[in-house]
Amino acid sequence: MVTITINGKEVEVPEGSTIIEAFYQNKQDIAHYCWHPGLSIAGVCRLCMVEIEGNPRLQIACNTQVMPGMKVNNQSAKVKDAVKWGLDFHLINHPLDCPICDQAGECGLQDQYMKYGQYDSEMGEGKVKKHKVVDLGPRVVLDSERCILCSRCVRFTDEVSKTNELGIFNRGDRAEVGTFDGKPLNNNYSQNVVDICPVGALTSKDFRFRQRVWFLKDAETICTGCSTGCSVKVYHNKEGLFRVKPVYNPAVNGHWMCDQGRDVYKFVNKDARLLDAKVVSGGKTEHMQATELAKRLGTTLKGAGKSVALVLTGAYTVEEYDAILNYFKSEVQTSNVYHWINNPENFDTFDGLLLRGDRNPNTKGLAEALSKNGFNGTWKELTDGISTGSIKTVVVAGPENIALFPDLKAKVSELARAAKLIWLGAAKSADLEALTGDVALLPTKSYVEKSGTFVNHAGLRQTVKRVTTIVPGALSLTEAVAAMKGEDVLAQPKQQAGVASPTVGAGRVNNEFTLTRGVW
């Protein structure tokens, strides 16, 4: 450890770290546009200037290592002047289109200008015009005029995704980020360049213009797109969820997340959800409250024994599995419990960075719960049971993100052969709506609407807290089981006991894009 002084305060930092890391570790404010903790050092933005005592010139903090007894300062008049002139250079060709720019409200350049700038520009020349609204690929749009050439995106495609799509072309104030020979930026990690862009040069097609960032609240949770279980932040308001961004978690995902994980929020919003409970029986359809349906199901299921089978998918929390398995073991008194694996052929694949073939957040948690209760039924036993008529009622805790279940249609028709199908699920599905037999549909909560634990592929247990309510009538499996037992379930349950800490995963720290906005 080395002791240095930052702005008059003595701090200890590991030997060999850079000054900017020392600032970062000790939660001191320092501007940085080209430096990113997950990327190599470029030293091109010249805005992390610090004054080092005994050194006549200012140094950049990102590429200077700490020395014992070093006294650094980024608050002095000399630094402020340097940052002001640095900003003046950055803003020479930067357009004043904050009203159109998607980054307005979380733009580093905007913040820095309000802190150190607010000068009259010394430039007498017109601005250099570059390309606007450049379609870089299926998910990202580039505005070269806003780009400050920090090269973060280029380094990301070189170092992290290793796809090398982006480069900086031309020189001086004609330099632009672009793709070589029109090759699109098309990899599964492309939207990370939008996150790391310190200005609004790279914007996400999906989020572009849909909301201003200051209308959104954010909350930390876990991505349920695959069994990696990345730590993420979801941004939402009363209209639903709008985007997902990664949160730094060295134990799971580092700084990044994949583009497929970013789409998970779409399956949580109201238009994709099962909104109310429905019973189809004898050609008649009846709509009712979910709790009402669960109570009715409870009376038919109680003590029904071996004629009832339970099918589970890996989309639910450990607590929910415990509740429903206990219920089936003790009250329904059946051991016909089966695990629906959606894509067995590529279940164990891994793309080398984050995305796994197992597209369920809690497969491991489900396997643990099943083996703990001694359930080891195979899918063949279920289909045979339905064919011979020994299984009359099938209860399914269905998938949340049905787009990741290519076998959904086949499975639904397979299970609907049973005399009665009870489907607990979050997603609205045309295959389910089309069923005409004896069917009951019960809406369940999505991962942002309940608290609980997910176990990822490596066995790491991560807790999530409830973020918001999207479908008010939906129940979690725990609540559905409680209602089946005949208990009164509140539409809006109290916070579950034992999930007190908002921290998710081990070793997580706040990411650098965290914004402090007004109290809502």
Binding site: L96, D97, G126, K127, K132, F209
Partner: protein, 199 residues
């Protein structure tokens, strides 16, 4: 914040002020009614006389202190903050860039904008829907103050009757292209001129 913490730490002497109630004479409503009748009567007589004189062309009609509403309408000064206007560019398209600063600044939370991508890359972003719930609006003028591009103004119109709630939900058609605006009010801020000047 400083004054709040100060008041909690320093004990202030308690001053009890006696509230002065209106005197008994203010309960006499008859003089007020009579005064009102006198005013109405005066205007009635003056109007009658002037109307007769005006019919013979002796005096001008606008000298009259009252107007024949709704056939005649009183116009306020252009500075009056009445009904909203969305300004247009020279080609007649909306000036608004859908930055939503007006909606952010609105204390009554009555502006709802849906932005979308424009086909023209030089425009980039524009509102596909801009709605003001005029029954919620408090006519404070914060929206025009917040607007960076002179896209929303408050005009001198103030007569806004309607038969049902939907008539008070002003949309783009009403705000920018209502017949009274005769094709729309052109914004003073022109993007094209700004680009040509290299700003």
């Amino acid at each position: 914040m400083a004054s709040q913490s100060g008041s909690s730490s320093i004990a202030r002497p308690v001053v009890i002020e006696q509230v002065k109630r209106p005197e008994a004479s203010s309960n006499w409503f008859l003089p007020g009614i009579l005064l009102g009748l006198v005013l109405t009567g005066k205007n009635l007589v003056l109007n009658l006389v002037e109307a007769i004189l005006a019919t013979f062309g002796i005096v001008k009609r606008d000298k009259m202190p009252t107007v024949n509403y709704p056939e005649e309408k009183y116009e306020y000064s252009p500075r009056f903050k009445g009904n909203h206007v969305l300004t247009v560019k020279k080609d007649g398209s909306l000036r608004c860039t859908a930055c939503m600063l007006c909606a952010t600044n609105c204390p009554a939370d009555c502006i709802k904008i849906v932005a979308s991508e424009h086909d023209d890359p030089s425009v980039e972003k524009f509102p596909i829907s801009y709605e003001i719930d005029i029954l919620r609006c408090v006519f404070c003028g914060f929206c025009e103050e917040a607007c960076p591009v002179d896209a929303i103004r408050m005009g001198p119109e103030w007569q806004t009757p309607g038969l049902n709630g939907s008539e008070f939900q002003y949309d783009i058609k009403q705000l920018a292209y209502r017949p009274q605006l005769k094709g729309g009010i052109v914004s003073v801020l022109d993007e094209k001129e700004r680009h040509e000047a290299g700003i």
